[in-house]
């Protein structure tokens, strides 16, 4: 167990010193011309995300119950959820813009083959590019802190309510949802980048995919599915929350595997 953890730590350390990772982070030149553009307009993205986050954020029970005595407490408890929803929106908007040009720009510039000629494996190149590009997102630390707060609130709540393992699964799904959405958006951008030679097209395709899944992989789809399968109310609640997370993670992993398999075939002529 310890050896495996050590091996992963070593791999992670190696990846963080990898020149391709460093280039995507901005240590060697400016690999992503969209990045400056994105940063210039990021206040708009943040404002939009705040609005959408507040609108789409988890409903504050105080509003539903009409009990004003615990209004402030509920607000504090729900704050991580609302903030995480805002950050998820920022993430899903910015992640494809960071990953979509990574391979397509190399292809259009004619540098992909030169990069493939180095002893770096296709998996390392793609992983380094994706993680390097996503590391430019300035939300990770805040998200981590908020997720820990959210997890603490949810797990304590579930323990107090004594809802059993399904309740914990429910809580875990809520905590993982923002991460899975951003991961999916980033991997989708990367996959589009591998298949499309134009960075702009790759970006448009990635946004299309993100939006489509945002609409399709929502509450109603999983609720309908649960009702169709005549699930109990507790299972139904967990399915509605866990389903989208599983779908996002499954799609991200599948797309990434396909991209790795496809990497050797990507060439500019």
């Amino acid at each position: 167990m310890g050896a495996a953890a050590g091996s992963w730590r070593r791999r992670w350390r190696n990846l963080r010193q990898n020149p391709i990772y460093l280039r995507e982070k901005g240590a060697y030149g400016n690999p992503n011309p969209f990045y400056d553009y994105l940063r210039r307009y990021s206040p708009l993205v943040v404002l939009g995300a705040l609005l959408l986050g507040i609108c789409a954020g988890y409903v504050n029970p105080a509003f539903l119950l009409g009990d004003e005595r615990f209004f402030l407490l509920w607000c504090l408890i729900c704050l991580p959820n609302v903030a995480l929803t805002c950050l998820t929106w920022i993430g899903v908007v910015m992640a494809p813009a960071l990953t979509a040009p990574t391979i397509s720009l190399e292809l259009s510039r004619g540098t992909w083959d030169i990069l493939r000629l180095t002893p770096q494996s296709a998996t390392t190149i793609i992983l380094a590019k994706m993680l390097g590009a996503l590391s430019r997102l300035p939300i990770w630390r805040v998200m981590a802190v908020l997720s820990i707060l959210q997890a603490a609130v949810l797990f304590c709540g579930m323990a107090l309510l004594q809802v059993g393992p399904l309740g914990f699964l429910f809580a875990l799904s809520i905590v993982l949802r923002p991460w899975s959405e951003i991961l999916f958006a980033g991997v989708l951008g990367m996959a589009c980048s591998g298949w499309l030679r134009s960075a702009t097209l790759a970006l448009a395709a990635a946004y299309g995919g993100v939006l489509l899944l945002k609409v399709v992989n929502g509450f109603f789809l999983w609720l309908s599915l649960g009702l169709l399968l005549e699930m109990e109310s507790s299972s139904l609640a967990s399915t509605v929350v866990l389903g989208p997370v599983l779908l996002y993670v499954a799609l991200a992993v599948s797309l990434f595997s396909l991209l790795i398999r496809h990497a050797d075939k990507i060439a500019y002529n």
Binding site: T111, D113, I114
Partner: protein, 318 residues
């Protein structure tokens, strides 16, 4: 396995039913400079891409520095420096950053990289552009930078696809000088070019490819001789040409003798067509001297690479 630095056996590549390369077999010795020539679509780039592990052959095998290209791609990549025909550069990087980045990709430690980047820039005469952005370099400079990039990991073999294409005459000469320097450094160079004079100036062997097949391959001088049905020899003498002409017409192996302004030769020079090996030619010269002909010069015309190319490719085209 083999002692040759590049060994290709029966290499074939089909693209969607089209044969780009058919049963190519050749070997390159260490330190050789091989000029790979042929018309467009002959299969030169396909061969180079297979040798650099960027393309999988349909059949056949190839070894570079003892490593099979499909089974040991990582070792091949460490042994080869490749400059593609259409190459891109990271224009957003500074010149030194570009080389440092690729050196890091080849796992060269940071402590070694600084000095190495300076050395490489000096070699390709770009030391004064170290802090400039790649974007600001001329085409010739970018080509030299790309060549420097192929040298970052000190490869034994350089595979260069049209290294001088698109360059102005001055940049072409500079590139040629650079290739000569690399040859002196002991690198094995395998390069393709459309500019035949450039190949002739630098290479030790040539391989001519047409329609995916190897038409001819070997030492350049030898090949020029072999490709000629007869050897052309020019003799310059002091005084009258008539005695020499008579002697030659009586000699074994001499086919025709020409002289005079109609064949654009000076009045003291004649040219004869000779079918024979080096020993026979040497005996003929001895015979002329013993006959008392005052010979000033006796030289064989080797012809140029254009002749060799046209001669070699003519059959298949027609």
């Amino acid at each position: 396995m083999t002692d040759n630095i590049i060994e290709i056996r029966g290499l074939t590549k089909h693209y969607d039913g089209v044969t780009a390369l058919e049963d190519l077999t050749l070997s390159v010795e260490e330190g050789a400079v091989v000029g790979f020539i042929g018309p467009n679509g002959a299969g030169k780039t396909t061969t180079m891409r297979i040798l650099t592990t960027l393309l999988q052959p349909t059949s056949g095998e190839a070894w570079v520095v003892g490593h099979e290209v499909t089974r040991e791609p990582e070792q091949v990549r460490r042994a080869v420096g490749y400059m593609p025909d259409f190459f891109g550069v990271y224009e957003d990087m500074k010149v030194w950053e570009y080389l440092d980045f690729f050196a890091a990709c080849y796992d060269i430690p940071p402590a070694v990289r600084d000095g190495m980047v300076d050395d490489l820039l000096a070699l390709v005469d770009l030391g004064h552009k170290k802090e400039a952005f790649v974007d600001s370099l001329s085409r010739g400079m970018k080509q030299r930078l790309c060549l420097a990039r192929t040298l970052t990991h000190d490869p034994q073999v350089l595979i260069l696809d049209e290294p001088a294409s698109g360059l102005d005459p001055r940049a072409r000469i500079e590139m040629r000088e650079l290739l000569r320097e690399l040859k002196q450094m002991g690198k094995t160079i395998f390069f393709s070019s459309h500019i035949l004079s450039e190949v002739a100036d630098v290479c030790t062997s040539i391989a001519i490819l047409e329609a995916g097949r190897l038409v001819t391959y070997g030492d350049m001088e030898e090949m020029q001789k072999q490709l000629r049905a007869h050897r052309l020899v020019e003799v310059r003498v002091l005084g009258d040409l008539a005695p020499l002409q008579e002697l030659l017409l009586r000699s074994e192996g001499v086919m025709t003798v020409v002289a005079g302004p109609e064949v654009e030769l000076p009045p003291d020079t004649l040219r004869f067509d000779f079918a024979g090996d080096d020993a026979a030619l040497s005996r003929l010269l001895l015979q002329i001297v013993e006959a008392g002909v005052p010979v000033i010069s006796f030289a064989e015309e080797t012809g140029n690479l254009e002749d060799v190319f046209l001669h070699a490719t003519k059959g298949i085209v027609s």
